[in-house]
Symmetry: C2
Subunit: 263 residues, 2 copies
């Protein structure tokens, strides 16, 4: 019986690079987790119901600068009553997109909720979830901060890691992430030739016949490459890690220039 996620099974599916290529850094698991949590205000909350059943519910949330989620929930809802009785809880945040959601990233942040000491978390929540403005004035609503003590990140099938509370709090969301989907769509729609030049010159697949971009982050770009030896995955790095979405265009132009000088 095969082992789930054994490296030999995964690696055998892709053509290897023909030449040595530089190792392009990837986001740490903590950074992946912070990036995912910062990407949305919709999550699944797990709380403990009175009969001992873990209770799954839909919530909107906001994120404090240290990554702690903020919730505003009603005691008219079971999750709101659960938090009053048992502060242990977790939030699961999943990446959006097409296709099988289990092929995409998701993260579970675990901890205990507490009432905040000041109004800052509510202000952060109301800025992130405008439809919730004024809700906290209703007597049945309460503001909670989830103090995170453990994080589990899954990047897709057989790619996962546990993140400590301090690594999670110390990491920052990838500043390029909010622009990544738009940039990917633009590159694939209008610059297939440039992506192919990058794949050929910079990723060890000089015989590539086609390339498309599958992901993009502050360190570089992931490619799916077709070669006569079969499909391959590849990665090319920007000259330096980016610190804002505004740098994406110049970094892409420079990457293509480097490919064409090299190739």
């Amino acid at each position: 019986v095969p082992e789930h996620g054994a490296p030999s099974g995964d690696g055998a599916r892709y053509a290897e690079p023909l030449t040595a290529t530089p190792d392009v850094p990837r986001r740490s698991a903590a950074e992946e987790a912070r990036t995912l949590v910062a990407s949305t205000t919709v999550a699944a909350l797990a709380t403990l119901s009175e009969d001992g059943t873990p209770w799954s519910s839909l919530v909107r949330f906001a994120t404090l600068p240290d990554g702690a989620p903020v919730l505003v929930v009603s005691t008219m809802a079971e999750h709101g009553r659960n938090l009053l009785r048992e502060p242990r809880a977790s939030l699961c945040v999943a990446a959006g997109g097409d296709g099988d959601p289990l092929d995409r990233g998701r993260v579970t942040v675990v901890g205990a909720v507490r009432r905040p000491d000041d109004d800052a978390p509510l202000a952060v929540y109301e800025a992130a979830v405008p439809t919730a403005r004024g809700m906290a004035a209703y007597t049945d609503f309460g503001v909670w901060v989830l103090d995170v003590d453990r994080v589990r990140w899954v990047g897709g099938f057989a790619r996962m890691d546990t993140v400590t509370a301090s690594d999670y709090a110390g990491a920052r969301p990838d500043p390029v992430a909010p622009a990544a989907a738009g940039a990917l769509a633009h590159l694939n729609a209008d610059h297939a030739d440039a992506l192919l030049d990058i794949a050929r010159a910079l990723t060890g697949h000089p015989d590539a016949t086609q390339a498309s971009a599958t992901a993009l982050d502050r360190f570089g770009i992931d490619l799916r490459v077709a070669t006569p030896r079969g499909p391959a995955t590849a990665r090319a790095g920007w000259d330096a890690p980016l610190t804002s979405p505004g740098q994406l265009r110049a970094a892409s132009v420079e990457l293509v220039r480097r490919a064409r000088v090299t190739g």
Copy 2:
């Protein structure tokens, strides 16, 4: 301090019908729950972790004819290990769409998982989640059926109900639901005049100036109507409850005909 969901607050926002209108049936809460669960294979699972924390995770699932969810999970994942130790669990399924997800339906089904007695649940799972075919052959994967003993349905802000296990098992998903989104888009794009005729003649808003369809089910169609008295919500019923998506076109044509004869 206002009360959350007090009827006076909600009702005051909409113009009332000017004439008496027939009461068009709505799906029961059990039927809403079954329809939502049948609409997708993606859910949030809540299980109990070893340290007592409710654990929220993303899963794919399938649905048996009685509405019981089927899961295939790995013990390499925390939720898989949790189910081995503690069978109590719940699944939250949320309706897709645009805008605030808290304005749309979601349902939590609660119960205890068990290993199935035969291969039928796995066959149902593999049919519903084709990417999972063969996964159950790996030693770390296990098939589970969630025996449902309680259901909580929330239709949107301040619209909710609890459903018993027998009502849930006895209800059926709305047969029209798989075609509802496409039919709505078609009606709004190409038949705004017909929707306005329906709103004027059949829903008590003879002064309506605009109407769009917001939802559609086996009993009828929900409208959002503009009137000189302010916005209104309205509902018009088919001649008889529908039993298949193929009946939608004829039922819509008949509804418009009735509006034009009446109006």
